[in-house]
Symmetry: C2
Subunit: 366 residues, 2 copies
Amino acid sequence: MSSDTELQDEKARERLIDLAAEFYDQFAGGQIPEMELPTRTKSNIEYDEDSHVWVYGDRTSTRSANSVRGARKLLKAIYTIDFLAQQLDEGRSSTLRELYYLSESWDSKEAGFNDQDESNQLVEDLEIVSEVTREDFHMRPEESGATLMGPLRIREQTRRGEREIHCQEDVGEGGYQIPNNPDTIEFLDHDIEFVLCVETGGMRDRLVENGFDEDHGAMVVHLKGQPARATRRITKRLHDELDLPVVVFTDGDPWSYRIYGSVAYGSIKSAHLSEYLATPEAKFVGIQPQDIVDYDLPTDPLSDSDINALESELEDPRFQTEYWTEQINLQLDIGKKAEQQALASRGLDFVTDTYLPERLGEMGIL
Amino acid sequence: MSSDTELQDEKARERLIDLAAEFYDQFAGGQIPEMELPTRTKSNIEYDEDSHVWVYGDRTSTRSANSVRGARKLLKAIYTIDFLAQQLDEGRSSTLRELYYLSESWDSKEAGFNDQDESNQLVEDLEIVSEVTREDFHMRPEESGATLMGPLRIREQTRRGEREIHCQEDVGEGGYQIPNNPDTIEFLDHDIEFVLCVETGGMRDRLVENGFDEDHGAMVVHLKGQPARATRRITKRLHDELDLPVVVFTDGDPWSYRIYGSVAYGSIKSAHLSEYLATPEAKFVGIQPQDIVDYDLPTDPLSDSDINALESELEDPRFQTEYWTEQINLQLDIGKKAEQQALASRGLDFVTDTYLPERLGEMGIL
């Protein structure tokens, strides 16, 4: 393991020990131990107009050991901190679900979790108070699974040593599998012109087959629907560290606009991670409602739940721009939605020869 | 592209042209063109006791152009054959969804598909009558996405040339991404002792982190829930071509037994592909109901739908063995189910140090 990774692990471990030390000091000073957290209700989450991401407001709530319920919560926190600190010390990792089951083996039965929601919630709380991400605690998600294909050479720190991989030349057609913690990746060199995040596997495969990544220096990131944290994190790193424009290409329906939203603005649930995961500069390519009209795409009618979702997006501060208001109103007006693969109705090369060059040209990317 | 792949493409193309030629001959002979297919209803699908997979029975049905509806079906078949033959000729590929949309661009409006079910069904029909798999028509699935990690060096024919990849040494922690058509892979050399198919990402990561693949020569195949065709195909190839035992490791509930069933025996829906996809020699490791008792695992109670699923498995010919009858009855008896990650209640190493060695020892694999 490189000294960088060791340093990061050590830092995460220190933050956890600091939390435990705080409880210790409170005990030693004759105080009832407590932990202060931002209130995680919808009313205490704000869309920050400057940074264009969700952040917590000023309200906080206190977890105190002055009740049996509160004391039990802090006990669980202490056991979890102990487990995480030990895991970091040993250079190991685990999943959220393993943590939940593992708590059954702890010597205090009171410290065991009642269900996985409880352990998930506690890990989120620890992320917030320690300002260390779950990935830096070495907590893995259950499934990650997105892939990269594009002109980038990376070095990944694996448990089995360093691996240097070129994300076009050293991988099969399936591409490079993003690891659970993409901060183990170092970017070595690249010829990327822009990052193209793609919702569906079918479209990702079309772009790769047509050589779009080679022809235009595109780094094709497969989102696989609502993107995992690892996918959003690497997208942000590609933008921030390599100074690359990021565009998002999805189906043309309200659920896909939310996928774009989660890449660009983050989500209410992970407001504490916006700085780590969100790429507010990411732009939406399409399918735009305007494309449905301009390219006369095959469509499906909007369902009632589509209409409700579009209407709630009109109220969503993330979509309160002239662009989105216009597009969403247009879609409600025409009453139709289209998938990205509907572009195939013009032939298999239409998306790479015509649609993307035109749209990316309009956006100043190509 | 290697001459092997070219040969395979040429063979698939010939089978398609043969189908079209048959129609032509029927026309030329003054006959109404028709196509004969095995009847694809549940009553015409049998579990073959010798090969241990699902196969079609003797009943057939005829698609004839003697009605407008029948004629339209054959017209669609002809256009699809034409498209597939051209695709093979150009060395290209497409998704089932692209085919559906693409049919909008065909010069005959009558040949366009009404919905994707219709085009999917037709491609399945063509698989059956031509005895060529969808993969050999270069039809990609929407999502594939499983990965390999283990001591195997492969050569993949990609559109961008050959790639030699060792599935431990040349990949990151995410492993080697199986391509949509795993028949583009050639196995070069290996130190695999057995193939271990794993249902969940969390358990796959645990095995890789604990070095189980390195310590025991295990090829870890991530199933990602119900496995994609590509995942089942590569599992079968590892078994058949490298003569390796295959074991399946899932959660301990009726839905996971079906995952095992689809690896081992195939499904009713793809009975025509059993020979290509199913590995009847695959054995089930667990979580067995017996393990819930023996290892005193954390459990959840069986829901009504779990109980119904178990009862229908008792009736399923694939599960009519002494082993499964005993295990399923035991599970109904104890009324409990357990996830594979529940093994973490005994510590993070329990699965690799104790559970798998014990179970694989009992099964004669280790």
